[in-house]
Amino acid sequence: MGGYGDVQLLRDDGKRLDGRALDELRPVTVEAGVLPAADGSARVTHGLNVAVVAVYGPMEAHPRKIQRQDRAVIDVRYNMAPFSTSDRIRPGFNRRSREISKVTAEALESVVLVERFPRSKIRVEIEILAAEAGTRCVGITAAAVALADAGIPMRDLIVGVASGKIEDTVVLDLDKAEDNYGQADLPVGILPNTGEVAFLQMDGDLSPDEFNLAMEYNFKAAGEIHDIMVEALQRRYEGGEA
């Protein structure tokens, strides 16, 4: 977390600078089936973040040495487009994107019924077109919808969402300023039906009590986003090809 400036992030009325309540999400939209070339796809906007995900597969896993006898491997690439951030990012992977790709793949492997597709590979391509804090969560949400759109069987969706701390106060879903000047960030990937956690990271400073409140906010918000995801998938099934 940045946390190095004297920046006011809470208004006198207790609301946040953009008018949100402490436990209020930024606006979220979800659309499934947005990329004609992909087997499954989704576009999620969350605040000013834009993530597009393509899913390909299940397909034969090659080279051989990445194959698993008893299950599919999930090959995730989280990528920020060069123009997605304030300062241009050089194309290609960096340490941050490699780490996010790894833990995102592990989270998705926890819900996809990978045992159904031995020796195969499912490619999940997460492209961040615009970034405004919280992109890894937006990418997870979009990946879950794209997997469903591709007809990949899953035991639950995953919802990516984060809480954090600003001015010693726990709040849901940090925006850019809150992320830059905040004190903690707790992004999670929640299985909305089972209440389990498949993705967890955190940095900053949280007391045990603050952690519990932040998790409470996350679980509540996961339910809200889940509803939007389900609606999008229903529209897609009814509407056919986008």
């Binding site: 390909y56 690439r77 194309p91 391509e125």
Partner: protein, 261 residues
């Protein structure tokens, strides 16, 4: 491992060509629907989304301050690059930039650069010390054929909406980037023995060489490129060159309409 599908596809495309037909019913010089949207990405200083049929590409423009090259102390720079990332289709694989993506970026780059639409001298802030570097990044999200024309169109449309972020870099006030002209690319693919405009994914799979022509506002040539295995005759070139003139006028109109909105 015998590429049976392409062989059968080539036969079918050849049969159709003999009857002056195409797989999706288009005429030889017909195009799929083209859509253009600009200013569509937070954080990009200029942006455009282009769709041609099921092909979807984005272009984003970013600026950075740099020191000028010693031999051109009063000139800024322009760079256009393309990424053919695995998101774009099943056939794309992760890894370092492929020759295909390098060619795509460089052909689009030359069309814009050589048209002279950007005056590099206007990108100078302090001679010998500080100039603007303009970067256009092309991002193909869905390849269903003819990504060259889609990228060419997205690049110039994004550039024409770009705002120089001078305030953020503390070198003056934000202002629109000055762009004098709208170079447009038209690409032709040999399918079933003859050239067609705006080839689809199947036509590219079962086709041969491509020719990419970039024309400026006055119909002058600014960039040419022949790609893939195959040869052509001067007479064949003359024919597609005529078509390119019409095509480029149409797409240039699309850019103008978008800007008028």
């Amino acid at each position: 491992m015998v590429d049976l599908v392409p062989t059968l596809l080539r036969q079918e495309l050849s049969r159709l060509a003999d009857a002056d037909q195409r797989l999706d019913g288009r005429s030889r010089w017909g195009s799929r629907d083209v859509t253009l949207e600009t200013d569509c990405l937070y954080n990009a200083e200029g942006s455009a989304k282009v769709t041609i049929g099921g092909t979807i590409v984005y272009a984003g423009v970013k600026f950075e301050l740099r020191t000028p090259w010693p031999d051109r102390p009063a000139q800024g720079s322009l760079m256009c690059g393309a990424e053919l990332r695995p998101v774009a289709g099943r056939k794309y694989e992760p890894g370092p930039p492929s020759p295909q993506s390098i060619e795509l970026g460089r052909v689009v780059d030359r069309g814009i650069r050589e048209s002279g639409c950007i005056d590099m001298a206007e990108l100078c802030i302090v001679p010998g010390e500080k100039v603007w570097g303009v970067m256009i990044d092309l991002h193909v999200l869905s390849d269903q054929g003819n990504i060259f024309d889609a990228c060419g169109l997205a690049a110039i449309a994004a550039l024409r909406t770009a705002v120089v972020p001078a305030e953020r870099f503390d070198v003056g006030e934000d202002h629109t980037l000055s762009v004098n002209g709208t170079p447009i690319m038209a690409s032709f693919t040999r399918v079933g023995g003859r050239y067609v405009l705006d080839a689809s994914e199947e036509e590219e799979l079962g086709g041969d060489e491509r020719i990419h022509i970039t024309l400026g506002d006055k119909g002058h040539l600014h960039s040419l490129q022949k790609g893939l295995k195959g040869v052509f005759t001067p007479a064949e070139f003359a024919e597609i060159f005529e078509v390119a003139q019409t095509r480029c006028v149409e797409l240039r109109k699309l850019v103008a309409e978008q800007e008028a909105n």
